[in-house]
């Protein structure tokens, strides 16, 4: 949950925030494909080294750190399971290359989390929706997407209030066996669902009253326009991808950092 929460958009006025969402998404995809292409620690560290300045540039170090912390558990899980499984498959010899390999896989995960958190933390849903619009996704879907995001905090508040109200009536959520516990959530879910239905009716009324669907040619207050920086980032991303593919196909494998001697 904390991992998801740390992906929430944080407003800012930096180069990264102002990048065209399509370009930023391409950049994220390049990070993604490069890190999936390699299993060696050196290229993965290289990607990480490229990402860090971007995080600083976007001034979202705190948020990024939170997402890494949120991913910490899974990261350590990846490391430990890899260590254990390889240890047993390789008949009990603990060598440095094994440690390096597990570290590389963990690093890959962290690089992936970083690239996606950087994208979501710095891209406003409004811009995302514009990008969807450019991709010719029908406006109704787009509207649903924005509305969903708009009502996340509202529904979260409401769920909390309902929970408080029912606990004040003596409802104990974490009491009883598994089935009872599920049943305990009924008094919370029902009002939440009923309120949401009521809310959706009110929303529909309000939409009508604001001329929703009045014209086929709906306009948008914001527009996407690529500027020089966008083009530059686009070119650099593509070059990086080409370089990575070239390295993968034609260059010798990357050197190992830790060697392959025994750990003990």
């Amino acid at each position: 949950m904390s991992l998801l929460e740390s992906l929430r958009f944080t407003r800012g006025d930096t180069v990264i925030h102002n990048l065209d969402p399509r370009v930023k998404f391409l950049m994220t995809l390049v990070f993604f494909s490069v890190s999936v292409m390699f299993m060696d620690i050196v290229p993965l560290l290289l990607v990480f080294v490229v990402q860090i300045p971007l995080v600083f540039l976007a001034k979202v170090t705190n948020e990024w750190f939170k997402s890494i912390k949120g991913a910490g558990f899974i990261a350590s899980f990846i490391f430990v399971t890899n260590m254990i499984s390889f240890y047993y498959f390789r008949s009990g010899a603990l060598t440095w290359d094994l440690v390096e390999y597990s570290l590389a896989l963990t690093m890959r995960f962290i690089v992936l989390v970083t690239s996606f958190s950087l994208f979501f933390i710095t891209t406003s849903p409004d811009k995302l929706s514009l990008a969807l619009e450019k991709a010719r996704i029908p406006y109704e879907f787009n509207f649903a997407f924005i509305t969903a995001i708009r009502f996340v905090p509202v529904l979260a508040d409401e769920a909390q209030t309902i929970m408080d109200a029912q606990r004040s009536r003596g409802l104990e959520l974490d009491k009883g066996n598994f089935l009872t516990r599920i049943k305990n959530y009924i008094p919370i879910l029902l009002p939440l669902i009923i309120n949401s239905i009521r809310r959706s009716l009110e929303l529909a009324e309000a939409m009508e009253s604001r001329a929703f669907g009045a014209t086929e040619n709906r306009t948008n207050l914001y527009e996407l326009k690529m500027n020089n920086i966008d083009v530059m980032v686009l070119v650099v991303s593509v070059i990086l991808l080409v370089l990575a593919v070239y390295a993968k196909l034609y260059l010798p494998p990357f050197p190992s950092l830790l060697g392959n001697g025994p750990v003990f």
Partner: protein
């Protein structure tokens, strides 16, 4: 021709047996500022929905008669077309804000109409300016306060340049200062831009001085229609359960003295008139030789809830309480007041352990509540939340009320008894087998209250019990609270409703910025103007009058109509001698 013409309008909701409104004939002219009022369920909201065609198009159902708005028959034009002539604003601002930023939300209607970018920016600039939210333009909509959200909804509708703006209880989620602010904006739209404004509102004391016409609905029909002075001084209106401003009630009781040729709606007006009759006194503000209140003091039983140095932060380091110290005694009747965001609800959620302090401690009956569960505490301290819809979920009212009793493990035979008792106490016995969702708002509120009272807690805490309630419902609540007090219950209410407080006279705790500013009896608190201003609490009308009458040898700590009448009556007789 009138701007809005309604002819023989009747409408029945689908599957309803009775018409929601019937035989309505009205003419509304350009530039009017109209208040629609009447008891809950009288058809006001239904009427508003006919003005932009939501009825009958969105709701279906059966409509007869005609509604013509700005020359357009609503039967022949779609809601999206009518939206450009009539801006309809609903009660809950959250359910009509669609965008993630303020500016984008103002643009929503314009985008739908296919306006060009420069046009939109022009309209946004103008609408934001007029409603005073210019500096919020780039803020996220979910970060706004209630008052700001309400102003945003006005701006969003205004940007489409409607000739008429219709608002359904725009101020019910706001504190009095926020409410005043909304009325100022509406007044400006009306005066400077000539926009016709129609509002539904229960807070007549605030609305009366702005509007120039009041239409009273009752059981789906127009009961009366006229100027505020005329309508509000009509005995019929009072009997319907419409809240009459206290200052007018006072004037009417002094009527025998023939001071007022027409009925004063504002304190200023009343003051000007009364000053022509009574004379300033040389001995200012004489107190009676001994003050009964001070002599007896406020008699306190033993302390029940003791809070010391309570600090609390919400996640994300949002400071909510900053060192609250408060003691509530057994049998007290306490009102916690202050502006939105002062920490009132946060504080009462500590009473039964829903929230746990960051530091400081809370004692209940002398024991620290740190190690007690919410369920254990709730058994003794009943919390009733603001919105009944946040807790009702059972199939029948009876099951709803017994829900908590089962949770507390009360014996089956006793449950039966307690449920009957609660049903009778709140006069909802006839709904026993009905679904709580089939009831009206006021009835649902009573079911929620009954569902807490049923387990007979020692302390009853009510969060904003008067919100959205009409005058009659408030009166019933007030009597009910008095009844509970005579049974020795401790009652705590969180409220903005100054007039409700003035009539029931609790011990008041004023809060601002997560702290208790001051506390004392209603009379004491309502005369400490500085603290009141700091907490955005307005003085009751009667107190405002007596504050101004200080030079006339009258006490300034008068809060209710009865006392005010006695004092003024005596004064007038003295002057006439």
């Amino acid at each position: 021709m009138a701007l809005i013409e309604v002819k023989d309008l009747s409408y029945t909701y689908p599957q309803a047996e009775q018409p929601a409104i019937k035989n309505i004939n009205l003419e509304i002219n350009q530039g009017e500022f109209i208040l629609l009022t009447g008891p809950s369920g009288c058809g006001k909201t239904t009427f508003c929905r006919t003005l932009n065609g939501l009825i009958p198009k969105f709701y279906n159902g059966e409509m007869t008669g005609k509604v013509i708005v700005n020359g357009l028959d609503t039967a022949d034009h779609s809601t999206m077309e009518l939206a450009q002539h009539v801006g309809l604003i609903f009660q809950n601002p959250d359910n009509q804000i669609f965008a993630l930023t303020v500016e984008k939300d103002i643009a929503f209607g314009l985008e739908n109409l296919g306006k060009s970018k420069p046009e939109m920016y022009k309209e946004i600039d103008w609408a934001a300016e007029v409603t005073g939210i210019q500096e919020l333009r780039h803020r996220a909509t979910h970060e706004l306060s209630g008052g700001q959200k309400q102003r945003l909804t006005i701006a969003s509708v205004l940007a489409m340049h409607p000739k008429i703006i219709v608002m359904d209880e725009p101020t019910s989620f706001l504190d009095p200062v926020g409410a005043e602010h909304i009325f100022d904006v509406l007044n400006q739209l009306n005066q400077e831009l000539g926009i016709t404004i129609i509002i539904i509102e229960h807070r007549i004391d605030i609305a009366a001085k702005y509007v120039d016409r009041i239409i009273v609905f009752d059981r789906g029909e127009v009961r009366s229609d006229g100027s505020p002075e005329e309508i509000l001084s009509n005995e019929d209106t009072r009997l319907l359960g419409v809240g009459i401003p206290r200052i007018l009630t006072l004037a009417k009781r002094l009527k025998d003295e023939a001071i007022f040729d027409n009925n004063p709606l504002t304190v200023d007006h009343f003051y000007d008139k009364i000053c022509t009759v009574i004379q300033p006194a040389s001995n200012k503000n004489i107190k009676p030789p001994f003050d009964l209140d001070e002599l007896s003091g406020e008699y306190h039983h033993k302390p029940l809830i003791e809070i010391s140095d309570l600090y609390f932060d919400y996640p994300g380091n949002v400071t909510a309480l900053q060192g609250v110290n408060l003691t509530i005694h057994d049998g007290d009747y306490v009102a916690i007041m202050g502006e939105n965001g002062a920490g009132k609800t946060t504080l009462v959620k500590h009473f039964n352990g829903l929230l746990r302090p960051k530091s400081g401690n809370i004692r209940f009956m002398g024991e620290d509540i740190k190690d007690k569960s919410v369920a254990q505490l709730a058994r003794k301290i009943g919390l009733v939340f603001q919105n009944p819809d946040d807790q009702l979920f059972e199939e029948t009212v009876e099951k709803e009320i017994s829900f908590a009793l089962h949770n507390f493990g009360i014996k089956e035979s006793l449950i039966e008894k307690r449920v009957n008792w609660a049903l009778n106490l709140l006069d909802i016995g006839k709904y026993r087998e009905k679904s709580p969702f089939a009831l009206s708002g006021g009835e649902r509120k009573r079911v929620a209250l009954a569902s807490v009272l049923a387990w007979d807690p020692d302390v009853l805490v009510l969060d904003e019990p008067t919100i959205g309630q009409d005058y009659g419902q408030k009166e019933r609540l007030r009597h009910f609270l008095m009844q509970l007090r005579t049974q020795g219950k401790t009652v705590v209410i969180v409220t903005h409703d100054v007039e409700f407080v003035a009539e029931s006279q609790p011990h008041i705790v004023l809060m601002a910025d997560g702290n208790v500013v001051t506390e004392g009896s209603t009379k004491q608190i309502m005369t400490t103007t500085e603290a009141l201003a700091r907490c955005s609490v307005a003085q009751p009308e009667i107190t405002r009058l007596f504050t101004r009458l200080a030079d006339y040898g009258l006490p300034n700590d008068v809060v209710d109509v009865d006392e005010a009448y006695d004092l003024l009556n005596r004064k007038i007789r003295e002057a006439r001698k």
